[in-house]
């Protein structure tokens, strides 16, 4: 299978992000620094089978966010995510 068969939606991160953030993050809006597009996190592309979890822009495939877990800690790497807007 090619790369596109491996991807799922940002919706798939609802569980893990609920361990980190207080509010639902799948409806949070995220701005991509690579292409200036703003989308709900639930609409972005997710690759769960990378080492850790990678969230990529659904327009330009830039890496928005990478999440790894090790030794009881989450490490969140923000790459092309310029800002996140979270409804409270």
């Amino acid at each position: 299978m090619d790369d596109s068969d491996r991807r799922v939606d940002g919706n798939a991160l609802a569980g893990v992000l609920s361990e980190i953030f207080v509010h639902d993050m799948t409806s949070a809006r995220i701005a991509c620094d690579g292409c200036d597009q703003v989308e709900p996190l639930g609409a972005e592309h997710v690759y769960m089978d990378a080492p850790g979890i990678v969230l990529r822009c659904c327009h330009c495939e830039d890496v928005l966010l990478a999440i790894t877990r090790r030794d009881g800690r989450y490490l969140l790497g923000f790459r092309a995510a310029r800002w996140l807007e979270i409804a409270t």
Binding site: V8, N11, A12, G15, D24, P40, G42
Partner: protein, 237 residues
């Protein structure tokens, strides 16, 4: 933690697990739960499953398809019995959600067990008395693999019920007059609302199915911000 109160065989590979979850905060149609299994040696496996029941239902229903290599789904479909406990987290997800007050028209496109969160939406629509026009385009391999087939027929037969359009991609019963191919742009042009109606659109199924349908809808001119997708991905399990 939920207690299994019933299991319902939907098709040979699909089973509904009916749960009583004390303290369940209520959910919105389209949300899912994470199910965690823990083996005696402490090994844990976790998967996400869509909720099939309407928010109006007292009990939480998960409808699960057994996947060939699925270490969680095979347990849920083959082993789980009434009285068993199931560790859940949820409801989670606020994006792939439809509520009656969101309005419509409502266009649902399902591939295989992708029907599950969309069924929660149709059940919610019926339970809430919503008059929002709704259409379901549902792709299955064979007639016997159509999940919720009789309930969909009942819903469609009601006044103001949803229109249900089946396509059977692998084999068709004799006398079948419906579609017999994968969902494509021509089919969507025939049965979906025109783009100007800007239907609230939810597409759920395996990743290649979802991507093909979303691409076809965009080509027809449907605005991208009205199309919400949920891809299963290759692993599931």
């Amino acid at each position: 933690v939920g207690e299994v109160v019933d299991v319902i065989d939907e098709t040979p590979r699909v089973r509904t697990i009916v749960l009583d979850v004390p303290g369940w905060p209520g959910h919105r149609a389209g949300q899912h739960v994470d199910v965690r299994l823990t083996a005696e040696d402490g090994y844990q496996a976790q998967r996400s499953y869509s909720i099939a029941s309407a928010p109006e239902d007292r009990r939480v229903m998960l409808t699960v398809e057994r996947l060939a290599e699925g270490e969680v789904s095979t347990y849920l479909v083959d082993e789980l019995r009434p009285g068993d406990a199931l560790e859940l987290r949820g409801p989670i997800g606020g994006y792939f959600v439809w509520e009656a007050r969101i309005g419509g028209p409502l266009l649902l496109v399902a591939g295989g067990s992708g029907i599950v969160p969309l069924m929660a939406m149709l059940r919610h629509r019926a339970a809430s008395g919503s008059m929002v026009p709704a259409r379901l385009v549902y792709s299955s391999r064979t007639w016997d693999e159509v999940i919720f087939r009789e309930e969909l027929e009942r819903l469609a037969a009601q006044p103001e019920g949803p229109e249900v359009i089946h396509t059977l991609t692998r084999a068709q019963p004799s006398g079948w007059t419906g579609y017999r191919r994968r969902v494509d742009g021509q089919m969507l042009a025939d049965v979906a609302w025109p783009p100007a109606a800007a239907p609230a659109t939810f597409v759920c199924g395996p990743t290649p199915f979802v991507e093909a349908v979303a691409r076809a809808l965009l080509l027809l001119g449907h605005p991208g911000n009205r199309i919400k997708t949920e891809r299963f991905g290759p692993t599931g399990g």
